[in-house]
């Protein structure tokens, strides 16, 4: 970091060569302008949250409402994680809504009709989800039918299967454990602690939040140290600390609000684990890299020895498993598996991925981006219903946001392309 004379330290972009003598204000400004281009989605999210906080007189950020946003959108976010991997690989999955329905139905039949113990039923349902994914993955990867067609067929097939399994009626209620996973909260294992003007909050939740932040800080510090050790460019220390502090404050703010309400929702714990795991998978695993390679240039991937068919097959299997998880959580939340469950979930998941910065041609996208995209839609839904907007207007706004997000992406790419020519 101390010697910025090596060309490796030069960031691509209008910021230019960071000189040793440059005043710190300019340097920060320079890297900030680069960051805006890369992280427009996060800024947009912050602005939308800000907008609805003002419009709802702060109701959006009330403890109970934050909890609601997370719980109400959890299954879409889980689907978005699977969907972003598929979109990065240059494919699409239109069947996830129907798969949510059929796996929810399978779980209900197992637990309610046959009395299978819930952990076993959960596992079996996820196996069914995996098999559904394998079925679609086979036709797409090994038979060579476009994923749009296969999953469009799957959308009909698995909806039909749902109706068959359920006999056109809802099945419930679910065992308590499943309902807790979907709707419940961690217990106040350690009791409450006073937070002055904010009132009492759950100590356990706060500790989990602090541990998460400590873990994040330690991991980022280690990464930074390792990168610096290899002579790579890293953020200057103040910038690094600022970013870290900002994310710590953000996490802690959410955790405090949740701790003031009813502790941590279990789905949030699950989601956090999934986001962490899948981010690592996408960025650091060989398999994750293969997904980007396949989506970036299929032929080049083939000629570089990537087992393209196997990669495509497994991302659809993965999507099936995640859809079954979403199916169980959705059914558990409603406490019954219904024939219309998951209707149009696929559209929400796809929209989340594209709002979150995925490229239509494939090869580009991030798990965290898709989650942010899903949260943007969740906040719009929630915020607009708080101010009493009719559902048609919510739909209108969501459509406009999706279009605007992709238009912005195309526009910045074209500008970058023109500058590079």
């Amino acid at each position: 970091m101390s010697s910025s004379t090596t060309p490796a330290n030069v960031e691509v972009g209008p910021a230019g060569t960071p000189g040793e003598q440059r005043p710190p204000g300019r340097l920060n400004l320079g890297s900030l302008s680069v960051n805006i281009r890369q992280s427009g989605i996060y800024i947009a999210f912050a602005l939308i949250v800000l907008l609805f906080s003002v419009l709802t007189d702060g109701a959006l950020l009330q403890p109970q409402n934050i909890s609601n946003i997370i719980v109400q959108n959890s299954y879409i976010l889980i689907l978005a994680i699977g969907m972003i991997l598929i979109i990065i690989a240059g494919h699409i999955d239109l069947s996830v809504g129907s798969v949510v329905a059929v796996t929810g139905a399978v779980a209900a039949v197992l637990m309610v009709n046959y009395g299978v113990p819930w952990p076993v039923a959960l596992l079996l349902t996820m196996v069914v989800g995996g098999l559904i994914g394998a079925w679609q993955g086979f036709w797409i990867a090994y038979f060579g039918i476009p994923s749009f067609i296969v999953t469009l067929a799957g959308m009909l097939l698995f909806r039909a299967l749902t109706l068959t399994v359920l006999g056109n009626q809802g099945i419930g209620p679910f065992p308590d454990a499943v309902r807790t996973l979907s709707n419940g909260f961690t217990d106040g294992y350690l009791g409450n602690v006073g937070l002055g003007p904010l009132g009492g909050a759950d100590l356990f939740s706060l500790l989990v939040g602090l541990i998460a932040i400590a873990g994040m800080a330690a991991a980022q510090w280690r990464t930074r140290a390792a990168r610096a050790g290899y002579g790579q460019s890293v953020d200057p220390l103040p910038m690094f600390a600022l970013k870290l502090a900002a994310s710590a404050v953000l996490i802690m703010a959410v955790v405090v609000q949740l701790a003031r309400f009813r502790n941590l929702p279990w789905v949030l714990v699950l989601l956090a684990a999934l986001v962490l795991g899948y981010s690592l998978l996408a960025n650091r695993s060989v398999f994750g890299r293969r997904i980007y390679a396949v989506g970036g240039n299929l032929q080049a991937a083939v000629l570089s020895g990537v087992k393209v068919k196997s990669v495509v097959f497994w991302i659809f299997v993965n999507m099936g498993v995640l859809a079954s998880l979403a199916g169980i959580i959705f059914a558990g939340r409603l406490n019954q598996a219904g024939p219309t469950a998951g209707n149009s979930f696929e559209l929400d998941a796809i929209a989340a991925a594209f709002i979150g910065g995925a490229a239509v041609q494939g090869g580009v996208g991030k798990v965290v981006g898709a989650i942010t995209g899903g949260l943007i839609m969740g906040v719009i839904n929630n915020g607009m219903s708080l101010i009493g907007s009719p559902s048609e207007r919510v739909m209108l706004v969501k459509g406009a946001v999706l279009l605007a997000a992709v238009a912005f992406d195309v526009w910045t790419k074209r500008r970058a392309g023109a500058a590079a020519r």
Partner: protein, 510 residues
């Protein structure tokens, strides 16, 4: 300089951060064939885009005078109305439409909004005959070869009452026969009074056909050479293009040849689109350690098909024959097998088949070695990946700000270095390099040759496929010739000449 059809004066075109053209002047006489030469990045294409209105008036400085009038083109439509038509290197034809439909695309022969098919096909037939194409106007573009497609493009230009025809690398994808036909056609058009501006890397063709040559270098006009005297040689043009006398286009190399590493016997491959047609038949090849072997052949001789069928059966059906690696017979069913056996293949079309253009240098270089050399239990060591990529960036002299630079924004030569780095990192014993210097400027070519020599010195066997015979002669220790899928000759360095190679490359052709 009596009757000039075109004057471009003081053309300056800047992109953010780059001055692509600087005070460029170009004068073209009416009814001549005028060639524009320069290394890649010299500004040839930019200049032609200015001329044809791709970059509209106002986005550049300087003036264009065409046919006696000062022109301010707002787009391609304007320049076409004035009689300037540009035919790009990548042909702009719709493969599923007929020849006639393509000729009149955007210029439909219609009556009150309805297309008059009789007139369309009749006029297309006349144009097709004029360019010497023996096809029916209703034939689909997909069913005719690249050479004929090029002629369709010219017919399309003629349909627009062209006065100045610009051809960007028209023969790059053509075999010698089709090239010769195309050049004849251009001469014919010149006699009819149509002026041509031609951009080409093939200097022998340029010398053959053009009346004058303008040389660009680094966005400036260097000189205009008159061909009438017959004094201008290839070396003369090259020295203008590179700004120095090129005594040595190839780095010196003393081969140290070891034992056999790869042997291919009785290799036969059939075409996937016509399974009864043999693309390669009964080919035998041997590669030895430390040896650079050339594979010469005309377009369509089966060079790439041979290489790709060996490289994990990535081309062809009904493949038969035997492959021996280090004396042991091996079975190569897919790319993974080939890589495991230490065989690498760097494709002739790096943008389509060689690189992930939207990713950075680092991830492209690691693409092959990722699973075996950069990961443990499926997890990538990203710091090691960075170190490796940075090492290649320095040793291969890849000109980019850093290994996080996006590969799609690099020049052709630097992209090729990324492809080579990717395969070198996989540490193969055999490297098959398909047209390793295609579309690369002279300076970068020299660097690529040096890299190839180094690979041989490290004991690797290198098979170079190239359409440029001087390249094969300057680089290879031994050269195979391929004609219609058969190996027709094998010449050691001392015996190989362009004439001999060409003799073997055309043997067996009617």
């Amino acid at each position: 300089m009596t009757d000039s059809i075109l004057h471009m004066r003081g053309i300056t075109k800047t992109f953010p951060g780059v001055r692509a053209l600087q005070e460029v002047n170009l004068s073209v006489r009416r009814g001549e064939i005028h060639a524009i030469c320069g290394e890649n990045g010299a500004g040839k294409s930019t200049l032609m885009k200015v001329l044809s209105g791709v970059y509209p008036h106002g986005s550049y400085e300087g003036e264009i005078e065409f046919d006696g009038e000062l022109c301010r083109f707002g787009g391609i439509k304007d320049s076409e109305d004035a009689g300037i038509v540009i035919i790009h290197q990548e042909l702009a034809l719709c493969p599923q439409l007929s020849i006639a439909e393509n000729i009149f695309l955007g210029n439909e022969q219609a009556e009150r909004g309805l297309i008059d098919w009789n007139r369309t096909n009749h006029q297309a037939a006349l144009l097709i005959r004029r360019v010497g194409l023996a096809e029916s106007p209703v034939t689909q573009i997909a069913d005719i070869g690249v050479g004929k497609q090029q002629l369709v493009e010219i017919a399309k230009a003629l349909s627009k009452k062209v006065k100045l025809l610009i051809l960007d690398e028209p023969t790059a994808a053509l075999n010698d026969q089709d090239s010769a036909h195309l050049l004849d056609l251009l001469r014919g058009l010149r006699d009819e009074g149509i002026t041509c501006v031609i951009i080409s890397h093939k200097l022998n063709e340029i010398i053959d056909i053009s009346d004058s040559i303008t040389i660009l270098r680094d966005g400036r006009t260097i000189e205009t050479l008159e061909m009438a005297g017959g004094q201008v040689t290839e070396d003369r043009i090259i020295s203008g293009m590179v700004g120095r006398d090129l005594d040595n286009r190839f780095p010196p190399h003393e081969p140290r040849i070891g034992e056999e590493v790869l042997r291919i016997e009785d290799w036969t491959v059939h075409s996937p689109s016509q399974p009864e047609r043999r693309v390669v038949s009964g080919a035998n090849l041997t590669l030895r350690r430390g040896e650079i072997v050339g594979l010469a052949g005309l377009m369509g001789a089966g060079r790439t098909e041979l290489a790709m069928s060996v490289f994990g059966r990535t081309y062809g059906v009904g493949i038969s024959g035997r492959i021996y690696k280090d004396g042991r017979q091996v079975e190569i069913r897919n790319v993974q097998d080939a890589i495991r056996l230490g065989i690498a293949y760097a494709t002739e079309d790096r943008k389509r088949y060689g690189l992930n253009l939207i990713e950075d240098i680092k991830r492209n270089i690691s693409a092959v070695g990722l699973g075996t050399r950069l990961s443990r239990r499926g997890w990538v060591n990203e710091n090691e990946e960075y170190r490796v990529a940075e090492g290649f960036r320095r040793s291969m002299n890849i000109k980019a700000p850093g290994v996080q630079s996006i590969v799609g924004k690099l020049s052709g030569g630097n992209q090729q270095k990324v492809v080579l780095s990717k395969w070198i990192y996989a540490d193969p014993d055999v490297l098959i390099l398909d047209e390793p210097t295609r579309g690369i400027d002279v300076g970068a070519k020299y660097e690529i040759y040096t890299i190839i020599n180094q690979l041989a010195d490290e004991g690797k066997a290198v098979l170079v496929i190239s359409s440029e015979l001087p390249e094969l002669l300057g680089l290879c220790d031994r050269i195979y010739t391929l004609s219609q899928g058969r190996v027709t000759g094998e010449l050691p360095r001392g015996e190989a000449t362009q004439e001999r190679l060409m003799y073997h490359m055309t043997s067996g052709q009617e």
